[in-house]
Amino acid sequence: MGNVLKYLVFFILLPVMVVQAKELTVTDVTALRQAVEEAKDGDIIKVKKGVYLINHLEITSSIELIGEPGAILDGQNKGEIITVKANNVLIKGLTVQNVGSSSTIDWAAIKVLEARNVQIIENIIKQGFFGIYFSASNQCLATGNIIEGSPLNEQNTGNGIHAWKCDSLFITENRVSGHRDGYYFEFVTNSQVEHNNSFANMRYGLHFMFSHQNAYRDNVFEHNGAGVAVMYSRNVEMTRNKFIRNWGGAAYGILLKDITDSHISQNTFDYNTIGVVMEGCNRIGFEKNVFGNNGTAIRIQANCENVICQYNDFLNNSFDIETNGNAVNYAFNSNFWDKYDGYDLDKDGFGDYAFRPVSLFSRLVGRIPEAMMLFRSLTATLLDRIEKVFPTFTPENVKDLTPQMTPNIV
C-alpha cells in the first residue's frame, strides 16, 4: 500500500517537475552567466554558436549545459572557466579554451568540486592549464573529450584529466596531448579508465598514486616524455593497453613502483627504452603481453617479490630481462623468447632446455653503468656466449623452464 502511494505521489508530481525544468538558449555572456546563476535543478541551458569571453562560471545547481557546435568559452588566460559544485550536472559539446597558467592555484578548464554524478561529455579543451579536474567527487563520467595543449615546459602546464580523492569514476574515450601528465589520479578508487588516448605529454602519459581497485583497459600511451608511472597502489588491472615509443634516456613504457596484487595482461610494449620497470612490487602477474623492439623489455629490481611472468612474447629487444640481485623470487613460464636457440625434440611446443633471459652483459651494466661503453663490442658478445654455456654470474633461478617454440600471440 505504501509503495502504491509513493508511485501515486511521484506521478502527480512528475508533470510539475517537468514544467519546472526549463530549457533556455543563450547567445551572449551576460545571458549565460545569468542563466547559470538563476538555474533551478533540472534546467537545460543551451549555448549558441559564438565566442564567450568568460571566467569563473560557477554551476551550483543540477543543470545540463550543452554547447551547440562552435560554442566557445574563452578564458583569455585569466583563470578558471567552469567550476561545478553541484551533483547531477552534465556538460556537453562545449569548446573551452585559454585558461592561463598559475603557479599557486590549479586552474582548470572544467573543475568539479565535491560533487556526484557529474558528466562531462564530448567537449574540446584547448590550452587548459588543467583540462578536466575532479576533486573529491564520486560516480563521475568524462567521455569523448579532446584535450590539447602546447606548453613550453613542464612547469607551465597541468594535467589533462586530473582526479584527486575520487571514487567510481568512468574515464573513457578521451584524447589528451601536450600536458604535464595526460591522466593523473591520486587517491582514486574503483574507477574504470578505458579506450583513452594519451600522447606527446611532457611527463607521463598516465600517472597514478594511492589509487586502488582501478582498471585500465584498451588505452594507448604513445610518445610521452617519460612514459607511464604508477605508484603505491593495490589491485590494479591493466589490460590490452598499448605503450609505444616512449624513447629517451629517462623514458620507459611503464614504471611500477610499490604496486601489489595486480594483473597486467595482453598489453603491447613497443619501441620503449625500457618496457617495464618494477620496484618494490609484490604479487604481480604479467600475462600474454607482447614486448617488441625495446631497449630492455623488463627491468625487475631485486626488491620485487612473487612476480609471475607467463605466456608473453619477447621479440627484438636488446635485453629481455634485467635484474640486480641473485636471491630473487620471480617465475617465468611458457614465454616466447626470440633469443632462445634451443630445440624441441619431443614436439610438445616447449623448448627442451631452460632459457635464461638475463645476460651477463646486462648484469654488468646494472652494476657499472659505464660498462655500456662496451655495448655491441666483441668482448661483450663473447662474455655473453661464455656465460650462456656456463652460467655463474647470472641469477640461477631466473629462467624459463618451458620456453615456447612459437610466439604465443603474434
Partner: protein, 255 residues
C-alpha cells in the same frame, strides 16, 4: 713514385686475396640488407663486421704482402729512387686497395639501401679503420725481419684492440667502480680506434637511448659536429703516427 704506386696498386688489385675480401664484404653486406627490413638493423650488423673483419684483414694482408715483396723492395732500393717514395708508394698502394675493397664491398650497399647518417658514419669509420690498421701492420713489418714474428705481432695487435683492450677497460671499471668514471670512459674510447669507430656509429642510432647516462654523455659529445671532428682527428692521429714511425725505421734500415 707515381709509376711504382701504379705498379703496386695493379699488382694488389689483381691479387686473389683482395678480390676475395671485396667479394666477402659485398656478399655479407647485401645479405644483411636483404634479410633486414629495417636498414638501421642491417647497419648495426655491418658494424660488427666492420669492427672485426676489417681490422683483421687490414693487419694480416699488408704484412704478408710486404714480406713477400722484400726482394722487390730491395731491388727498388738499388735504383736511384728515394726510400721515402718507395715506402710511400707501397703504403699508398696497399692502403688505397684496402679502402677500395671496403668501399665497394660495404660502401656501395649502404648507399644503395640508404643507411642514413649512421650509414655514412659506418663508411667513414670503416675507411679510417682500414688506414689505421694498414699503418699498424707497416710498423709491425718494419720492427722485425722475420715473417712469422711479424705476422705474430700483427695478430697480437688485432687481438689486443678487438678483444683484450675492452677486457682491460672492464677490469678497470670493476676495480674503480666506486669512483665516477664517466669522463674516464671518454678517454678509454679515444685510446682504441675500434671502440672509437663503434661509438661514433652507435650514437647516431636509436639504440643510443638505451646506453643510459654514459650513452647520453657520448651522444652529447660524439653526436655533435665538434665531437665528430675530435674523434676524426683522433682516428687520423691513429694512422699517422704508425706510418711516420715505420717510415723513420725504413729510411735508416739496413735492407
Amino acid at each position: 713514385m707515381i709509376k711504382i704506386l701504379k705498379y703496386i696498386l695493379i699488382d694488389i688489385l689483381k691479387n686473389r686475396f683482395v678480390i676475395g675480401y671485396t667479394v666477402l664484404l659485398a656478399i655479407l653486406s647485401w645479405a644483411f640488407f636483404g634479410f633486414e627490413i629495417n636498414p638501421e638493423k642491417a647497419v648495426l650488423s655491418l658494424l660488427s663486421l666492420n669492427l672485426i673483419v676489417v681490422p683483421l684483414v687490414c693487419l694480416v694482408f699488408p704484412t704478408i704482402y710486404l714480406y713477400n715483396a722484400t726482394e722487390f723492395t730491395e731491388l727498388l732500393a738499388t735504383q736511384p729512387i728515394g726510400r721515402r717514395s718507395i715506402f710511400l708508394s707501397q703504403y699508398l698502394g696497399i692502403a688505397l686497395s684496402m679502402i677500395l675493397a671496403f668501399l665497394i664491398g660495404v660502401g656501395l650497399p649502404v648507399m644503395a639501401y640508404g643507411g642514413g647518417e649512421a650509414g655514412l658514419r659506418l663508411i667513414l669509420t670503416g675507411t679510417l679503420l682500414s688506414l689505421v690498421f694498414v699503418s699498424l701492420s707497416f710498423l709491425a713489418v718494419m720492427l722485425t725481419a722475420d715473417k712469422a714474428k711479424g705476422i705474430g705481432i700483427t695478430l697480437a695487435l688485432w687481438f689486443f684492440f678487438a678483444l683484450l683492450y675492452d677486457g682491460l677497460v672492464l677490469l678497470i671499471y670493476l676495480i674503480f667502480s666506486d669512483y665516477p668514471l664517466d669522463f674516464a670512459t671518454m678517454g678509454f674510447a679515444f685510446l682504441n680506434p675500434i671502440d672509437l669507430a663503434r661509438i661514433l656509429v652507435l650514437v647516431e642510432m636509436d639504440v643510443s637511448a638505451i646506453l643510459g647516462l654514459t650513452g647520453a654523455l657520448f651522444k652529447d659529445f660524439f653526436g655533435s659536429t665538434y665531437g665528430l671532428f675530435f674523434a676524426l682527428v683522433a682516428l687520423l692521429l691513429w694512422f699517422i703516427w704508425p706510418v711516420l714511425a715505420a717510415l723513420k725505421i725504413f729510411i735508416r734500415k739496413d735492407l
